[in-house]
Symmetry: C2
Subunit: 588 residues, 2 copies
């Protein structure tokens, strides 16, 4: 098939649109692939739609090859199934809700677990019907707080979501692996570099969960990884717990007056000045223990204060806290919380245990004290004395205090040891491009999806969930594959196989170009033909470079002697090619 | 590609689902093509999705062949463009509206005129850029008062909508014709019988408008047509106006006491008894003039009463009234209207003119009196005398009264003469399956879409609008093509080319079937293979018949001697076929 630039619904933009912050957004707008219709809402122009269909094709082919069957659900769904699973409430203001003319609640589905589950319940009833994996490529909606970066965080976007249904855990493991393998093939075909990381299941509930993370500067996620193969989401990173230290012979703790120590840095300065370390080395932030008060709201609505202790050279990481306390939602304790708990001496909080006080006022009893895993028995800390204006030094974990538990809340840092012993880690900015996830029986239980087993007894089905963003990944590909001149499409998803540019004013040259284009078209190639007469070669080349078709075939004056020029968009290489060699070059 | 019934996500239903009233709804559910998710919301199972994609493919191929370019808009749109054109208000409660987390109004688009127009405005600026026709195949939403009949009237449905953009009227005419021709090809390929009728543009505004109407008992529309080629929507039917009659020598009107004549039938009886016709023939309803009072609400909110006069053997037709008075909305006058206008003597209303009374009270002055086109000068009528309990006979149009205008409000009946003189018409139940429509400059004007002409002056673009329902037409095809056993898919959109049914318990037979299926698959045929081992032949045949693949290849005992049986689903014909002839039979 051939499209001609003389009639193609396309206008490239010379200047960067003000609305675009990141390269993919900027280039997809400038090269005429998409247009903004509203906040986080995009239209697709002919070129954009071609690439989008190609991404969908790759995903569809691999899904079908993995034995998944395609279905399609509505985007508009009634509230009821989401009410049953509790997600109508859980989603809060992250979803679009609406009422129909009879005031019945509906939502624009952000994901489709509920209706997939109900559809299988409707059709299947026996263990013999399983395994089953079904998927859809479909538009989804999320009412993002801050839609940004074009297709990277839109409010209407397209995903492939698949669900597997198995009779038992071994079946789920097999279905999961099939999808995981398919995802690897998909990302390879799309030309998207990825790291597979353990991910916390978060609000989805369930067991095994892995994310396909694509390293990119515009990513909003951080992956912790090293060259020895360790990789995890920052939320899933587990601290390598040091060995406990014998407490025999350690000095007793000493309480100091430390009135002006609003920060860890000031505390360290005061400590080095007032009670220097005996061996002469300076105290550092790592020697202090920072105690942060958080307020948890549990799913039943109840509220609980907890104190989280992390080494003073680290902060409490919001994402890790979110996962550590899920399904409870954590937020910093309020002034009212401090006021209601006079035992929480702001700025001077120290360790204690819910079972009893360690230092200071007994009124703190009942508030859980959770420590970083590094706070092992025998470690010594400078920390708050639970009295205004006072800190304590030489406070020994396991001897002077015992935490009510550990929590993975501290920030992860470059150089931290990987939990598998594979050595120090790096932190990489990434974007989630795929997610495979063993949901287990959560949705099947909530919605009553069971089958009869070999003995005629009901058994709840176990499910897996597998998602890939179509439109988001398309943008990720542009982020990963462009240069200062424009987009460089991987051949697999390029809008066309070859971009033929006819130059000059000689109609004989255009006649040759027409013939070549007809031959390429007849060979089932997708051809973009710049047949414009009154446009300069410079403009045509600029358009070709920004649009990003992998091969640019320039047909100019030499054409009359059978001589063309072939440009490789990715490498910039320009080579002469004889007319008679063109077809073979592109033969599929 | 081959799908196997042993693993295909499909369960046919033996019984008719209670929810389904019409054949397409019943069969698409029973044959496992769709499932209901909510009122007017349907999911697509693998078989349904295959047929749907085929319908989309046919439409897409014909659109591309007609030079239209595919784009894609979001389903969720901001309010603003619809505010500019006034449609945010006009749509009333027929659309889904919602607010995002910032309380910004949005809608689920029922059509996309506004954003198509704005996109062209964004990209194009010169007359040289035109003509352009762009289209999308996309999900639309309407908050129907009464979703019904499955896909025939759903709340989420898929349409192909195209818009043409031209510099001048001649260009629009050409673009319109290209789409109209493409529609004819599409319906022929889909196997959908159609009549092209003049249609009133209704709420859309604009000029030339034609609908592709598919004759079907489940249709909600009526087409007026005859064998000589006349065809129009009942709304667009124009009455053939009879010649005027000389009034010279006609008797003067006579007023009669007619106290008990609540209906036309009782009036006719009283007339025949009290003042029989001089020539001895009986009076009939056609000799009376029925005067109906309607209240119009104009777009500016003002309210106006009008009297509509139709021959007593016809009623006022709601659809024709709707179109005749658009953009005003008509409803029957209320008791309060009669109370406020004592000159309107209910049951005894007769003709008058807004410019003055004919009979009775002067207080009627100012109310428009509109007559059916058949009320030509010289026609004589028995009608109300504008006095309680009295009628008048021999009232002559053009002599005794003159209407303020004519109105096409009367019902159309079988046998009415076509306006083009082609003879009596029939009334056919139909369903709209496509609509081509010259929008003109309405949207371009409202949204400021203009281009520079040859002289550098701004000129407003003229548009056409072209819509085909994808999911609705799929259901229409089932309505038109099924029998008591199930669906009969036209080959062009059938989910598979051939349904291979292996029967019996002999593994050798199944082995032969596997080989044949592999050969068909290798020949690029789409094969549905019933490879189920523990299912009886009877059940397999029933499944094949309800699913409706055009060809059913039965591979049973004879297979070991190379003898199969080939069933034609449409004709029911069953013929032996030799194994060696199978491939050639299906060769594409």
């Amino acid at each position: 098939m051939t499209e001609r630039l003389s009639s193609l619904f396309l206008r490239t933009l010379r200047d960067d649109p003000a609305e675009a912050e990141v390269a993919s957004h900027r280039l997809l707008l400038r090269a005429g692939f998409i247009r903004r219709v509203g906040s986080g809402l995009y239209s697709w122009l002919p070129l954009g739609l071609r690439v989008r269909r190609n991404v969908e094709r790759v995903i569809r082919e691999e899904m079908n090859a993995a034995g998944a069957q395609e279905v399609l659900f509505p985007g508009l769904l009634p509230r009821e199934p989401y009410e049953v699973t509790g997600r109508w409430t859980e989603y809060g203001s992250d979803i679009f809700r609406l009422q129909d003319r009879r005031d019945a609640d509906h939502l624009l589905a952000p994901t489709h677990e509920e209706v997939f589950t109900l559809m299988v319940k409707d059709l299947y009833s026996s263990y013999k019907d399983l395994p089953l994996t079904i998927y859809q490529i479909q538009d989804k909606y999320r009412d993002e707080t801050r839609p940004r970066a074009g297709l990277l965080r839109a409010r209407e976007f397209t995903m492939k979501d698949a669900y597997s249904f198995d009779f038992d855990d071994e079946g789920l493991e097999r279905s999961y692996q099939l999808q995981r393998d398919a995802y690897e093939r998909i990302f390879k075909r799309l030309g998207l570099e990825y790291v597979i990381v353990s991910a916390d299941a978060g609000a989805m509930g369930g067991s095994k969960s892995e994310e396909f993370m694509h390293p990119t500067a515009v990513g909003e996620d951080t992956v912790v990884m090293n060259d020895s193969g360790y990789a995890a989401n920052v939320e899933a990173f587990a601290t390598l717990v040091p060995d406990a230290i014998p407490t025999d012979g350690l000095a007793q703790p000493v309480v100091h007056d430390t009135p002006d120590t609003p920060t860890i840095a000031t505390l360290v300065d005061v400590a080095n000045a007032q009670f220097p370390r005996e061996d002469g080395r300076a105290w550092s932030a790592a020697d202090t223990l920072k105690n942060v008060v958080l307020a948890l709201t549990h799913p039943d609505g109840s509220r609980e204060l907890v104190v989280v202790a992390v080494p003073g050279d680290r902060d409490v990481d919001d994402k890790r806290v979110e996962v550590a306390f899920a399904p409870a939602v954590a937020e910093p304790a309020s002034e009212a919380d401090f006021a209601a708990n006079p035992g929480l001496v702001k700025g001077y909080i120290g360790p204690w245990s819910a079972s009893g006080p360690v230092l200071g006022d007994e009124s703190r009893t009942g508030i859980r004290f959770l420590a970083d895993p590094r706070v092992v028995d025998g470690t010594q800390w400078i920390t708050g004395a639970n009295e205004s204006g006072r800190h304590v030094s030489g406070l020994v974990a396991g001897r002077d205090f015992t935490a009510d538990g550990t929590v993975e809340a501290a920030t992860v840092r470059e150089g931290d040891p990987a939990p598998d012993g594979s050595g120090p880690v790096q932190l990489i900015r990434t974007m989630e491009v795929g997610h495979v996830f063993q949901l287990g029986r959560k949705y099947a239980e909530a919605l009553g999806l069971s089958v009869l087993d070999q003995n005629g007894k009901r058994a709840t089905v176990t499910m897996g969930s597998y998602g890939i963003g179509v439109t988001r990944n398309l943008a990720a590909i542009v982020e990963a594959s462009h240069d200062e001149k424009g987009i460089i499409w991987p051949a697999e998803i390029a809008p066309f196989d070859v971009h033929v540019v006819a130059t000059g004013k000689d109609e004989a040259v255009f006649a040759v170009a027409e013939e070549v284009v007809a031959e390429l078209d007849a060979s089932r190639l997708e051809v973009l033909f710049d047949d414009r007469r009154k446009v300069s070669p410079g403009v045509k080349f600029k358009d070709a470079e920004i649009v990003g078709v992998p091969w640019i075939l320039v047909i100019g004056r030499g054409a009359l002697e059978g001589e063309f020029e072939l440009w490789n968009r990715a490498t910039g290489e320009k080579q002469p090619i004889r007319r008679e060699d063109v077809l073979q070059k592109f033969a599929k």
